[in-house]
Amino acid sequence: MRGATKKGIAVEEYNKLKHMFDKGALSRRDFMAGVAMIGAGMAVTPSLLSGTAQAATPKVGGNFIIGMEGGSATDSLDPRTYSDSVMIGASLAVYNCMVEFDSNGNPTGELLESWEAKPGAKEWIFNVRKGVKFSNGKTLTADDIIYSIGIHRGETKSPAKGILKQITEIKKINDNQIQMTLEGGNADFPVILGDYHLVVVPDGFTDWQKPIGTGGYTLEKFEPGVGLKFKRRGDYWKAGRANFETVEIRNIQDVAARTAALQSGQVHAANRLDPRTVNLLMKDKKLNVVRTKGTGNRFCFVSRVTDAPFDNKDLRTALKYGIDRQKIIDQVYSGFATPGNDHTLDAGNPFYNTSLPQRKYDPDKAAFHFKKAGLGNAKIELQASEGAWGSAVDCAQLYQESLKKAGINLDVKKVSADGYWDNVWLKVPFCAVYWGRRLSADQTFTQVYSSASDWNDSNWKRPEFDKLITEARAELDQKKRKEMYWKAQEMISDDGGMICFAITDYLDGYAKNVVNNEPHARYDLNDQRIAEKGSFA
């Protein structure tokens, strides 16, 4: 209990020091001295500091053009409809979130400057940053924050509704302070508030075609499916950010067209480069390829453990040993991926279970477990489609080959891409799925594996697991938490229905003269904030 209070205050103090350092009011030496005095025991990572130091002197100007995949003619700047990269990137140019993430994925204050948890991590106090203006001149207050969260709660179509269910009450303390009460303790609550849907708009705002935000740019033009154009605001509250005079996002779905545009200099940045050609691009002297290793998308084949024959644990184990992870990574992703260990947490997370041996392709073990399952020569059906992800069918076919060597017959059924997420995922016994990275272990486990989640695609419900993660959620002792999460990973990897075989790297391409484009632990294009963080050399 005492530890919790200390930690709450410590977080606030630390955030204050950091804010002063960011603003330039504190030298690096004094900042370190301050942190040592707090005795917060917080690891101040070098990249955290070097990131902010770099931001102190970027060049202002230039017209920055990004060629992006992940948009459609049905896009809108209503945050309740965000699902793909172009809108997320556009959103972070005109709006700000409440919580931002540093390059390592730790939450830092954006419009919610700092926060403090009362003991038990159930009640939280958030401090709203002062002196921030919207593009229409209005000053940011707690009412704007409360409204911006509110549109994603209650009777809403927003996909963020599920993660906000844990909030039981939001109360305004004064114009710059908000109290939020949760239904249960959650030490990682600020991470939830950093979700990309939760951008801040003025209180009562609904005119999504003419967005008003606190971001560094204003929207000049928006043609859904074609592109957007932004202009620098000039009075952005973050020093050293929003450095381009104008920014254009061009929606280029075809990877060959996007690569050609990058090579011919028509765009200065491109996302989702093709792993099969990226080695050639790395040799191009005019280009710079930025690779985010180990924190990209998780690619899986998931079976529903309540549907026969996948309710048989031996079969599930056989299927986990029967997949040649390295071969898929080499052939489909040209080596630009790390093997998954049958749960969706990656090595970048501090709670990653390093003692759990990496499951490798073992046709003998697979054959042994399959025989033990007693299914005779039964055929197993796996449904896959480009609608799951572009190369899903290729991965499924390699899986079929590797299972054959173990004497298991896998029938790969290719289904239509159209309507995949409606009719196949969460419904059929065995299919392909991918998961984006979640920034907290708690979110990862709760969204994918807890009994109450709508997205538990393996339908794996274990009360001991639920109890474990609920306890871990509120546990402020990091060592105890680690033990609990390690156990959780063991349980999933051993008993679960998911075969997570690869975690791919993000591959972004930039013109040589674009800087401040480091890899980020969350998303590509520097956490989709390249317009806000980047600059020309």
């Binding site: 060629g67 459609s72 003619a73 049905t74 896009d75 809108s76 209503d78 409809t81 699902s83 009777e155 809403t156 179509k157 927003s158 996909p159 509704k161 599920g162 999504w208 075609q209 043609e223 859904p224 499916g225 074609v226 592109g227 061009r250 929606n251 280029i252 779905q253 075809d254 060959a256 067209a257 050609a260 545009a261 090579q263 011919s264 028509q266 765009v267 159209d418 309507g419 997420w421 409606d422 009719n423 995922w425 709508d454 997205w455």
Partner: protein, 315 residues
């Protein structure tokens, strides 16, 4: 003649109405709806219900169709269900882009194909004829994205003559648009030339076996004179039909070109609409495409009648 045109137009409107019902029905039968398509992986039963109620999707389908139809008769094509934009405003620039590209390609392709077809017919069996045939067959057999990528590789990346991204914006100068859309226009030209060229050649050659042609030769006219003055006007009808068909294809069938060259036309717009089950968008695009086909075919029929004196004054 006027009577023919009026009947044709009336039948065309009837076709458009039938098309609208078919498109509505087909999109309804497709699995999923706009709510599940837009929310994707983020859909839960509650969010889906709210989304649907907001758009009035919980009403029966005939009610929704009649409401759309009634509005369409007044020129109001509705609002897109996915991003709440007025459809007429969003389609107009995309449609004008498509028409621009179609016109650009047609202006190059049609005269070239007809002239080359006539040249091939005049020089039947000779080297020119065989050469033109082989080249046109090659370009039509190769998939359009392949031609597109080859053109981009050589003319945009290696030699930087034209831009690889052909995205045009309304505020661009006409000359700039011509420059930006050059590569897609060339690709489309190569795609449609073969059909028109070969039809011209075949049509002309089939007339050549007629007795009056033999008479013209016996009179002493040269081969080119015979073809241009006597054979071509009679051969015009099938040629005009094929041209109309290809023009319609240039408007409705070029989604792949739009994707590869990132050209903001109406094809990609409709594909996105279908993928998200955005019914008003799909209906609007369907109407435009059907209208293009019906309109162009009607014009072709009328022209065919006008060109042939025997049909102009039926006995």
């Amino acid at each position: 003649m006027l009577k023919t045109i009026v009947i044709r137009v009336a039948l065309g409107l009837l076709t458009l109405w039938a098309v609208s019902i078919l498109i509505f029905g087909a999109t309804e039968i497709l699995p999923g709806d706009v709510a599940s398509a837009v929310l994707g992986q983020g859909a839960t039963p509650e969010t889906l219900a709210v989304f649907r109620h907001e758009l009035g999707l919980d009403r029966p389908s005939y009610v929704r169709y009649l409401e759309w139809f009634f509005n369409a008769l007044h020129g109001d094509l509705g609002i897109a269900m996915t991003n709440k934009r007025v459809i007429v405003e969003t389609i107009a620039p995309r449609l004008s882009n498509t028409l621009f590209l179609a016109g650009y390609a047609a202006l190059i392709a049609v005269p070239t194909s007809v002239v080359l077809g006539i040249v091939a017919a005049i020089n039947e069996g000779k080297f020119v004829d065989r050469f033109v045939n082989i080249i046109s067959l090659m370009t039509i057999s190769v998939p359009e994205f392949f031609i597109a990528y080859v053109l981009i590789l050589y003319l945009a990346v290696q030699f930087e003559v034209f831009p690889s991204l052909s995205t045009v914006f309304p505020e661009m100068e006409f000359s700039e648009k011509i420059y930006m859309a050059a590569l897609p226009a060339f690709t489309l030209t190569m795609l449609v030339m073969a059909h028109m060229l070969r039809m011209t050649r075949t049509s002309v050659l089939s007339i050549m076996s007629q007795p009056y042609i033999e008479m013209a030769f016996l009179k002493g006219l040269t081969r080119s004179q015979v073809i241009v003055r006597h054979a071509l006007p009679n051969a015009a009808a099938p040629i005009i039909s094929v041209i109309a068909l290809n023009l319609a294809y240039l408007i409705v069938g070029v989604v792949v070109i739009e994707v590869v060259f990132v050209y903001p036309g109406i094809g990609q717009f409709m594909v996105d609409g279908v993928a998200k089950r955005d019914l008003p968008v799909v209906q609007a695009c369907g109407l435009i495409f059907a209208g293009a086909f019906v309109g162009l075919n009607t014009v072709a029929d009328v022209l065919a009648i006008m060109v042939n004196p025997r049909l102009r004054h039926p006995r």
